[in-house]
């Protein structure tokens, strides 16, 4: 394979027929920057019907080209039609890179079409860098539970496939190009070859306790938590401050709190006015999910990385500090 023959960076546009998923805009905007450096064209790939107004929003992200795919198999998300679609399109157009939003569905088919094409797939990059010497994309991502950053490249094969989590990059449209090429493709996937059939969908009931994304105050407990009995005080503190309780991955692993309360790249991205982390070590995966007005950290380990991210910190026993905060707030 001569990678020089592979051009253009693609973004898969995830949508529900009415609206584009925000992650697709985010990826268009970020990939635009890579294309500006590499000289590649930015191509957005849309399968199935989407209103013209949404197509305009995609164009506003500075795309050079739209590939609009019609045909059978795209009415609802399914592994087979989307895997086939990107296999066929990548073979035909020889894309250099394909960026896919790291949603549940994006993470479902991207690795599969990468395997069908026998190329590399990366996931959860937090930074994308174009290296002009190698003409490769450097996918920078947290590794080993966020204790170290790894640079991942796909130096020989194409396309370079990456799934990237929603909220990693920002949707800041650079504006519509004077000329946007629109290519129409018809690629039908036989509906009878789709091996999953949708029997029903039940939307999650809205539980305000689990809505940490919209909370202005977050009290977050981390791996330092000793046991389940200690949890109550953090709930109480959250309530006193008018906020919500959240946690880091190890507590979800220990089955102390539900996954919907997990803050970070692979959980929920939060933007509170006030964040207080108790016994949180400060793994990259966690802190990349926080954009806080005021960031407080409490940890008994003075060398914990969390103190590098905080505005104010207290080195001490998390339970004791929490109890004292409750006592003073009640006084």
């Amino acid at each position: 394979m001569d990678k020089k023959n592979y051009k253009d960076m693609w973004v898969y546009i995830e949508h529900d027929g009415a609206q584009v998923h925000p992650v697709s805009f985010e990826l268009c905007c970020e990939t635009r920057k890579l294309c500006d450096k590499s000289g590649d064209k930015l191509v957005a790939v849309v399968a199935g019907d989407l209103p013209e107004s949404e197509l305009e929003k995609i164009k506003d992200c500075g795309v050079d080209k739209l590939i609009l795919v019609s045909g059978t198999g795209y009415e609802r998300y399914n592994t087979e039609a989307y895997t086939n679609l990107f296999t066929v399109l990548c073979q035909k157009y020889k894309a250099s890179a394909v960026m896919v939003g790291g949603t549940t569905n994006g993470r479902d088919f991207a690795p599969r079409f990468a395997a069908r094409l026998e190329t590399g797939c990366t996931s959860d990059a937090t930074e994308l860098i174009y290296n002009p010497e190698t003409s490769d994309i450097e996918f920078v991502e947290p590794a080993a539970g966020g204790k170290i950053m790894a640079v991942i490249t796909i130096p020989v094969l194409r396309p370079q496939v990456g799934t990237i989590r929603p909220g990693t990059f920002k949707h800041i449209p650079v504006g519509k190009k004077a000329k946007v090429e629109v290519i129409k493709e018809e690629i039908s996937f036989p509906v009878e070859n789709i091996r999953t059939k949708l029997m029903g969908f039940k939307a999650d009931a809205f539980d305000p306790e689990l809505d940490i994304a919209g909370s202005e105050v977050i009290v977050c407990v981390g791996a330092g938590l000793k046991d389940e009995e200690s949890l109550g005080r953090y709930r109480e503190l959250a309530k006193l401050l008018g906020g919500k309780l959240a946690c880091t991955r190890p507590l979800v692993d220990r089955e102390l709190l539900p996954y919907k309360l997990q803050v970070g790249q692979s959980g929920v991205m939060i933007k509170p006015k006030l964040y207080i982390g108790f016994g949180v070590s400060g793994a990259v995966n966690h802190v990349t999910g926080i954009e806080a007005g005021k960031f407080i950290a409490v940890n008994k380990d003075p060398d914990a990385p969390i103190f590098n991210y905080c505005d104010y910190g207290i080195v001490g026993d998390m339970n004791e500090v929490c109890d004292e905060m409750i006592a003073q707030l009640k006084a």
Partner: protein, 262 residues
């Protein structure tokens, strides 16, 4: 009889890894190797299926010979036999090469109706393996599956639930099918004494690259891995924040609350 394959991995307990502040390298020495936590939930789902519908559970893992430990651990909670794919030639593999190696090895043993995987591993955490294994098994896939509701053995179909960001899908899917499991409905099982004894005697087949007819050596290990890691570096840290210490806990907390209220 349902043939069930459960894919598991031995991983370093990354939560116990520390970074050497002087060198910026990860200190791996002394970090215990454990069963990937989410694989235990996938195994629970498989055992539940076996209890309800009958069947035989085979485990498969790829790793160093010491990875047999996690196979024995899983055999103790209801798996029947195990495959250990081990060879230096398989080492340094990314998900593409690993999926090719595991499927090539599994295919030398049997054909499987249902394949269960954890949603992701603690160490690599790509969450890609399930989809890539399914591709190579030419199986249907349901990632983020949360419940195996019903199995129609005659028709070879299942009704399953899948967790999306906004709710739960109910899907009908045909066999063979691979599932990556959410932990929601399948808590980790604790082995019984009887299970532990059975695990000691259960058969573990070791498969090396020599044992797989027609294996393409260019598609395994490092040569078969398109993704590379040219460098690692410690996370770039911002300057530390202000550490509050007013002499006593009550004074320090009082200062903190003042700052919060600002």
């Amino acid at each position: 009889m349902l043939k069930i394959l459960v894919c598991v991995k031995q991983v370093p307990d990354v939560d116990q890894m520390r970074m050497d502040p002087a060198t910026g390298n990860l200190i791996r020495a002394g970090v215990p190797a454990i069963l990937n936590p989410l694989d235990a939930n996938a195994l629970s789902a498989a055992v539940k299926v076996k209890e309800t519908y009958g069947g035989e559970i085979t485990l498969i893992t790829m790793g160093p010979p010491a990875a047999e430990a996690v196979l024995r651990e899983c055999l103790a909670v209801g798996a029947d036999k195990a495959i250990l794919v081990t060879d230096r030639a398989f080492g340094n593999a990314d998900t593409l090469a690993t999926s090719y190696s595991i499927v090539s090895a599994a295919n030398t043993q049997d054909k499987y109706d249902l394949i269960f995987c954890g949603k992701e591993t603690l160490d690599g955490a790509t969450g890609q393996m399930g989809s890539q294994l399914a591709e190579r098994f030419n199986a249907a896939q349901v990632t983020s599956a949360s419940l195996i509701k019903e199995i129609d053995l005659e028709k070879g179909k299942l009704i399953v639930e899948r967790e999306l960001e906004t709710g739960i899908e109910t899907l009908e899917v045909s066999m063979p099918c691979l599932f990556t499991m959410e932990k929601t409905n399948y808590p980790v099982r604790i082995p019984s004494l009887k299970g532990k004894l059975a695990a000691k005697k259960a058969p573990v087949v070791t498969i090396t690259s020599q044992d797989i007819p027609g294996l393409d050596k260019q598609r395994i290990g490092d040569p078969g891995s398109p993704t590379k890691v040219p460098r690692m570096f410690p996370p770039v840290m911002p300057e530390p924040g202000v550490i509050l210490d007013e002499g006593g806990l009550d004074a320090t907390v009082s200062k903190l609350l003042e700052l919060i209220k600002e």
